[in-house]
């Protein structure tokens, strides 16, 4: 069971208070009707499924209720960082370097 820092509550809480919500930074197209079937497929279904540092969404469902983002390593499950929804994707390479 992960221990997750909610960037809104600014504290650590156990995974059971949170829901995973898939890969982060996949923005819904402003006008989907302009997309080809393939492009729309990509939006709907294609995920990076990264083996390594993965940027993903979580929601502190049974806490403050907010969606936020997390950088987690999908092999070690180590959490590098959590940040608020809407903030830009961090430079992971740099972060990893400074953190190790």
């Amino acid at each position: 069971m992960l221990l997750i820092r909610c960037p809104y509550c600014q504290d650590y809480f156990p995974e059971v208070e949170f829901d995973y919500a898939g890969e982060a930074h996949i923005e819904r197209p402003a006008d989907p009707s302009l997309l080809s079937d393939d492009a729309w497929r990509d939006f709907l279904f294609i995920r990076s499924n990264t083996r390594g540092w993965h940027v993903e969404r979580w929601r502190h469902t049974h806490g403050c209720g907010r969606f936020f983002n997390m950088v987690r390593h999908t092999v070690t499950d180590k959490i590098l960082l959590t940040y608020r929804a809407g903030e830009p994707m961090p430079n992971i390479k740099q972060l990893v370097e400074t953190n190790t």
Binding site: M1, L3, D37, L44, D77, A85
Partner: protein, 996 residues
């Protein structure tokens, strides 16, 4: 029987409290403080079980949870039978009743032992090679036979009446293992004021010190030292001590699972006390001080009852006051077993010889042996043992002497063996911690772990009590291991701990006669491991799975290292090149019950009830579960079955007035200046122009274009909507809405609040509904003109603040009254009273289903299944044609969603009106085609309609709307039903009744 193997003046038993117990029906006695194993040994009983494959007689090997052989069934009365309990762990209690396992008809005489005669036919992997011919024999003969032979203990047969508990716990420091290292760590950390939890799986703290009463620590004898430390720790409020508590698994971020056994050791178990408790401990820091486990030696006949680990011998002697035999042979490749010999000699027990396979040993040890007058055979190996149910002799021979001149036979009734020590790295490895190979010690040692975790004592490869204490004290104080600040003076330390690691012991016996066991329980011999390698199993993981080495209930605690050494030898590579198999939780087998915890029986999962539920209950309603809720399904009157009750309830709604508890519907209050815009983006329908006081049916899709949910949405005011969802869909709809709102459209000024349980919802449906309601409503004109279908108003009903909807899911004139939940029951009863003159009739979900089916209204999840588009469902009218976008819109134009042949929602009428079709039945065009048939679709809803005097059904049928009036067929097991495709609206298609 007498306890003729007790040793006077030894043991930590309560000799004042004798206890009786039975084993295989025979009565024995022991003392409080004994384990079942020690009490049996006290009577000279070694033979306690039979092995898995060959049914070889097996005895007690260890004195701990790593025991592979001494597994017994424990029976504590009805529902309290438990198989595979380790006799070495089970504490004795008054009246304990145990039985041996995997033998028939008896432990002494076991037919299955015939397998042993044919062992050469059953090498590792034999079953992959045979039982294939003739093919039919597999199902009927071979497999039943294999399955019959499976398993160890007999399974429990009755429901377990015990309860189990669980807790979360947080601490600064969790210490696993209460030996010298763990205790010293707890002492330092506890004195610093940290929140400490220290656990040990045994019944007492002290670890290996309990088996070493002669050493002194800071002047105190070891047992005294333990008592002092434990007393000090108990006195500290910040320290929690848990005995009989196994750390079972090390999970992410220092979450360690513990299983605490609360009652299995008690003679009288108080009522209602949980049997076990699961602790989920989240610790800032974890210290692993689990010690080390002794390795058996692999030699011919090493599995005979009476052959045990040397340290177990010490434990039985010192802790339990029991000698494991009257004439004992020690066989070892390691120093520590010499101490066992000395201990036994000091206790006056005859040591036949110390057989040490090493060419040379520490002269100090030899000198000490001489002092004790013990014969030593250094550079000797065991080549054979005798004794079927108890070892009777061992044959030894010098390792340097191939000529067999040095062969000699030593009579004995017990053998204590030691192949050295394996640091316990199970939990450490759960963290995905890495191991390094220690060339000197020929063992794996802990290296890096991603967790905040230290490992100390014998588990860290350190030896000697003083060293263990020092490591404990350093790490407990939060210092590095090299920071020697606290030091302990230890006398009679057991620091002599060198040795060599062996594969099989050398032997001159002809290979085919050698049976040297590596995994006792699973009957894996060294030859099996070599055969696996020969067969091409070159990865240790393959060797494990091919031979089952390490897969028994001790999970390789005794067998993994020996297996590895032999496999490495067979492969001709070094042990670290072979590596270990993966360590997995639990550390020791752990009951299902403790994981289930409180969540059993009625507490298995929440059952939600509405505020009107008690009323329905009092009326004798029959309920059904709908997602987590239970809902009244129908209200049978005396003598009525479901069909009669439902027909009556439907009739009342169609001709008079029915009352229905709709409280479970999901409700969301959508508030803010952008509320309408938000709903416009979410739902297919247009919302911007909906006037306050009006309702609209809303349809919600997934981004993939398929129907997810529906419900009526009312506009309360410019910036406030009351959204309803399906009962089951409520949580998902809210979560989906929040998701879009927070992450896609954070700019919208709108907020969502779940009000599902704020409102009790009572539906009054039927031509007389207005008659019941009108007198109770204040200040609103309920006439059809003033308050038409799909109106809503905030008003007071029977004096309660209410949101009143004119809506209908039945096709009749209908109202839904929302009042704050706390008034729900009162209002319901008020309606029942007011409706009495109109014969108001409560109806349940079943009648509701019939009524809505008559009207062709869909139920999301029943008539749709996650692959149905609005067009498929005939709901295109619910799509705002001018809207540029809404969730799922883009998907609706994907090629397959506009292709021909999609399954469309239609009605079906059986040619025989009395036939009620089965929901889920498949529809075909040509009933005479052969299997596999071309299926057009399936029945989604099917009921007897009293109003129509016939059966009706809804279905999803390929190109359904183009098939109106076609005859289709429903082939069932023994007959085929013919149906006609019709519109899904069976009743009042013009909607007159609704608008009256």
């Amino acid at each position: 029987m007498t306890q003729s193997f007790r040793v006077d003046g030894r043991g930590r038993l309560d000799y004042g409290t004798p206890m009786r117990f039975t084993f295989d029906g025979k009565t024995y006695s022991g003392f409080k403080g004994d384990t079942l194993a020690s009490a049996l040994l006290a009577h000279g009983v070694h033979l306690v079980g039979r092995s898995f494959k060959y049914h070889r007689p097996r005895g007690i090997v260890t004195a701990g949870s790593e025991e592979p052989n001494a597994l017994v069934g424990i029976d504590r009365g009805a529902g309290r039978f438990e198989p595979n309990t380790r006799a070495t762990v089970q504490e004795l209690y008054q009246g304990l009743s145990a039985e041996s396992q995997n033998r028939w008809p008896s432990l002494q005489f076991d037919i299955g032992a015939i397998n042993d005669q044919f062992h050469s036919l059953f090498p590792a992997g034999f079953y992959y090679k045979t039982f294939m011919w003739p093919r039919q024999f597999w199902d009927r003969v071979y497999e039943p036979f294999i399955r019959f032979a499976a398993g160890l203990g007999r399974p429990p047969r009755d429901p377990d009446p015990d309860c189990y508990a669980s807790r979360y716990h947080h601490c600064d420091l969790l210490i696993v293992g209460g030996g010298p290292a763990g205790l010293a760590a707890a002492l330092e950390a506890g004195r610093q004021g940290l929140d400490v939890v220290i656990v040990d799986e045994q019944a007492a703290f002290g670890g290996s010190l309990l088996s070493n009463p002669t050493c002194t620590i800071n002047g105190a004898l070891s047992w005294e030292w333990i008592a002092n430390v434990v007393e000090e720790l108990r006195g500290l409020e910040n320290v929690k001590l848990l005995l009989r508590t196994s750390a079972i698994g090390y999970f992410h971020q220092n979450m360690v699972g513990l299983c605490q056994r609360l009652t299995d050791h008690l003679s009288d178990v108080p009522d209602g006390v949980p049997r076990e408790r699961l602790w989920r401990v989240r610790a800032r820091r974890v210290i692993l001080a689990q010690g080390a486990i002794e390795k058996p030696l692999v030699f011919n006949g090493n599995d005979r009852p009476g052959v045990m680990l040397a340290s177990a011998g010490q434990t039985y002697l010192h802790r339990y006051g029991v000698t494991v035999g009257k004439r004992i042979v020690i066989v070892t490749s390691h120093d520590t077993a010499w101490q066992a010999a000395f201990d036994y000699a000091n206790a006056g027990i005859e040591i036949a010889a110390i057989v040490d396979v090493r060419p040379e040993v520490d002269p100090k040890l030899r000198a000490k042996a001489d002092e004790c007058a013990i014969k030593t055979l250094v550079g000797h190996s065991i080549t054979q043992t005798t004794g079927r149910k108890r070892v009777r002799s061992v044959t030894v021979q010098a390792t340097t002497d191939p000529s067999r001149k040095s062969v000699r036979r030593l009579l004995c009734d017990a053998v204590l063996m030691s192949g050295g020590w394996t640091p316990t790295l199970y939990l450490f490895s759960h963290t995905k911690g890495s191991l390094t190979w220690d060339d000197n010690g020929e063992r794996f040692l802990p290296s890096e772990t991603p967790e905040i975790c230290d490992i100390i004592g014998a588990g860290n490869g350190c030896w000697g009590i003083a060293n263990a204490l020092r490591e404990g004290a350093c790490v407990g104080a939060g210092k590095a291991l090299t920071d020697i600040e606290v030091s302990y003076t230890v006398e009679h330390d057991d620091d002599a701990a060198s040795g060599i690691v062996q594969k099989e012991l050398p032997t001159t016996q002809p290979q085919e006669t050698v049976r040297a066991f590596v995994d006792f329980q699973n009957d894996v011999t060294s030859k099996d491991i070599r055969l696996a390698v020969q067969t091409g199993m070159k990865s240790i993981e393959h060797v494990k799975r091919y031979t089952t080495n390490g897969m028994a209930t001790d999970q390789g605690k005794l067998s993994n290292m020996n297996g590895l050494m032999i496999a490495a030898d067979a492969l001709g590579v070094t042990p670290p090149d072979v590596g270990l198999t993966t360590f997995r939780p639990p550390y020791t087998p752990t009951t299902f019950g403790v994981f289930a915890g409180r969540h059993s029986g009625e507490h298995f999962e929440v059952e939600r009830k509405t505020v009107i539920d008690p009323w329905a209950d009092e009326q004798g309603a029959v309920f059904e579960p709908v997602s987590l809720w239970r809902r009244a399904r129908y209200f049978p009157q005396a003598g009525e079955d479901m069909r009669a009750a439902v027909a009556r309830e439907c009739g009342a709604v169609r001709s008079g007035v029915g009352i229905f508890d709709a409280s479970t519907l999901g409700k969301i209050e959508v508030v803010g200046p952008d509320a309408a815009e938000f709903l416009n983006r979410m739902y297919t329908n247009p919302w911007l122009k909906l006037a306050p006081g009006r309702c609209r049916y809303g349809l919600l899709l997934g981004e993939d274009g398929y129907i997810r949910d529906d419900g009526v949405v009312a506009r309360l005011s410019q910036d406030r909507f009351h959204v309803t969802t399906t009962t089951g869909g409520a949580p998902n709809v809210l979560a989906t809405m929040e998701d879009y709102l927070q992450t896609e459209w954070p700019d919208l000024d709108v907020w969502l609040t779940s009000t599902t349980e704020q409102w009790a919802v009572i539906a009054l449906q039927g031509p007389l509904a207005r008659k019941v309601l009108e007198p109770l409503v204040d200040g609103i004109d309920l006439s059809n003109d003033a308050f038409p279908h799909m109106s809503m108003a905030q008003c007071s009903v029977a004096g309660y603040p209410a949101r009143l909807f004119r809506v209908s899911f039945t096709g009749e004139l209908g109202f839904e009254v929302n009042v704050p939940a706390q008034f729900g029951r009162a209002l319901w009863e008020r309606f029942i009273e007011a409706g009495e003159p109109h014969s108001i009739c409560p109806y349940g979900t079943e009648a509701m289903h019939v009524l809505r089916t008559e009207k062709g209204y869909i139920i999301v999840g029943q008539d749709t299944d996650g692959t149905v588009t609005p067009d498929d469902a005939g709901l295109n009218w619910a799509i705002g044609k001018k809207k540029k976008d809404f969730i799922g819109k883009r998907s609706l134009s994907r090629p397959d969603l506009v292709a021909d042949g999609r399954k469309q929602f239609v009605g079906l009428l059986t040619h025989d009106p009395s036939v009620v079709l089965e929901e889920g039945a498949q529809v075909v065009q040509d009933p005479n085609q052969s299997v596999p048939m071309d299926m057009l679709g399936h029945i989604t809803s099917s009921y007897w309609s009293e109003a129509l005097g016939r059966s009706i059904a809804l279905a999803l049928i390929a190109d359904g709307r183009a098939r109106m009036d076609q005859s289709l067929y429903i082939p069932m097991d023994n007959q085929t039903h013919a149906v006609t495709v019709v519109s899904p609206v069976f009743y009042d298609p013009s909607g007159e009744r609704l608008n009256s």
